[in-house]
């Protein structure tokens, strides 16, 4: 929390101290509240400053994909990628995205509540968080793939590499949306971290790779469609043969829909907390 005190203040027109003066001076003294774009810009800058404020935090963010990529590469050392490789990559991307985001709101909840009193836009707040998390996801996905490619043989060619990167990054960003939702619902950072495995394990269990023929049963087949892993895996596994534009577009579209759903639910929860 000490780091948060050094961050740029969100200039919402009236600070806590100013509000008392303004009240005394009457309504003529009030300043216009900054709009969505202005709040969003300030919040993105603040989130960036937060990201770079802790060397240890940054090291952990970048170290995790390096370690996971190394482990996956080691498991398939000198071999070509196969369906289980793509599934492992999917789990790694979802885990990274979710863990990056699960604490970002809950650990600064007091600041959020204070700024919310001065008309902080919920959407500016959520989208600013997501924007910075998306950049982190993009860097992490690149590191994950690079570390894997050092040990194993990924599908060759720019088109395959671009597809791997885009699908993994999108899955990681969607998982960040899930992490933000967890963060809005959690009462403590500890609770948020505990909740992550509870949401990732079903994504592993309800998957074609784990359930094989059982995936065709009613409940697993329905549950699978709601997981991030299914759509990321579908987007990656087609590379075993060749790129299918239809599958790729469908996978990315569903991931985008899931992200939108997580953000709407997160915004709804924050709105409920106003009451």
């Amino acid at each position: 929390m000490a780091e948060l005190d050094d961050m740029p203040d969100l200039d919402l027109g009236v600070s806590v101290a100013e509000s008392a003066d303004v009240a005394a001076a009457g309504s003529a003294g009030t300043r216009e509240r900054p709009g969505f774009a202005s709040q969003y810009d300030t919040l993105v800058d603040r989130n960036l400053a937060l990201l770079f404020s802790s060397f240890r935090g940054l090291f952990l963010l970048l170290g995790q994909p390096v370690l996971l990529g190394y482990i996956i590469g080691l498991a398939w050392r000198n071999a070509e990628a196969e369906p289980t490789t793509y599934f492992s990559m999917t789990i790694a991307a979802v885990y990274l995205g979710c863990m990056n985001a699960c604490c970002v709101i809950v650990r600064e909840r007091a600041i959020y509540d204070r700024e919310r009193m001065f008309d902080l836009s919920i959407w500016a707040y959520l989208l600013a968080k997501l924007m910075v998390l998306a950049v982190v996801s993009a860097v992490q996905s690149a590191l994950l793939l690079y570390m894997q490619a050092r040990s194993m043989h990924l599908p060759p060619g720019l088109a395959n590499h671009a597809t791997l990167y885009v699908v993994l990054t999108c899955a990681s960003i969607t998982a960040s949306g899930l992490g933000l939702l967890i963060s809005t619902c959690a009462s403590s950072a500890y609770g948020a971290v505990i909740a992550v495995p509870s949401l990732i394990v079903p994504q592993i269990v309800f998957s074609e790779v784990v359930l094989r023929s059982h995936i065709d049963k009613k409940i697993p087949s329905i549950a699978e469609n709601f997981t991030i892993t299914k759509w990321c895996y579908d987007g990656l596994a087609m590379l075993a043969d060749e790129i299918d534009g239809g599958i790729l577009v469908k996978s990315l579209a569903v991931l985008a829909l899931q992200l939108a759903a997580f953000l709407f639910l997160g915004a709804f929860k924050l709105k409920l907390d106003d009451l």
Binding site: D45, N78, V135, H153, P156, G157
Partner: protein, 148 residues
């Protein structure tokens, strides 16, 4: 927001540059793996366009005299070269041994067999040996391994 745009721009430039360098697309940073991949691709292009004289240049002089490339291609694909239409060539990977003298490259070709109107996707492994500073194809050990 400007800071974020600046960071993203820097990341794209650094990441893109690193990708280009790591894939051997620049002549300055070309490792043996990139040379083997490039030679593999060119070899199959020669076969694709029936340029057997140039294809034979990828093995050393001793092999070059002994090898009959059209016959080997026929043995490999089970059709005479004139019935073989290689449509796509994908170099899947190349590996180099710890001593840096031996290499192998795996390739997937999409071939149209004109006599039976079939499309096949055979995977072929080519074996390479470094002599001096040049990589030569061990043509017999490579093409005699039929992986159709």
């Amino acid at each position: 927001m400007k800071k974020l745009i600046l960071i993203v721009t820097l990341l794209v430039i650094v990441g893109g540059g690193a990708y280009v360098v790591l894939n051997g697309a620049t002549p300055f940073f070309r490792s043996d793996i990139h040379i083997v991949k490039q030679q593999t691709e060119r070899f199959f292009e020669c076969v694709k366009f029936k340029e057997f004289d140039e294809a034979s240049n990828y093995h050393n002089e001793v092999d070059r005299e002994a090898a009959n490339i059209p016959k080997m291609i026929e043995d490999l694909f089970k059709v005479p070269p004139e019935y073989l239409d290689i449509q796509d060539i994908y170099v899947l990977f190349a590996d180099i041994d710890s001593g840096g003298q031996l290499a192998k490259s795996k390739t997937r070709c999409v071939v149209h067999l004109l006599n039976s109107d079939e499309i096949r996707k055979p995977e072929v492994i080519l074996y390479w040996k470094k002599e001096g500073d040049q990589w030569f194809l061990k043509l017999r050990s490579s093409l005699e391994r039929n992986v159709l």
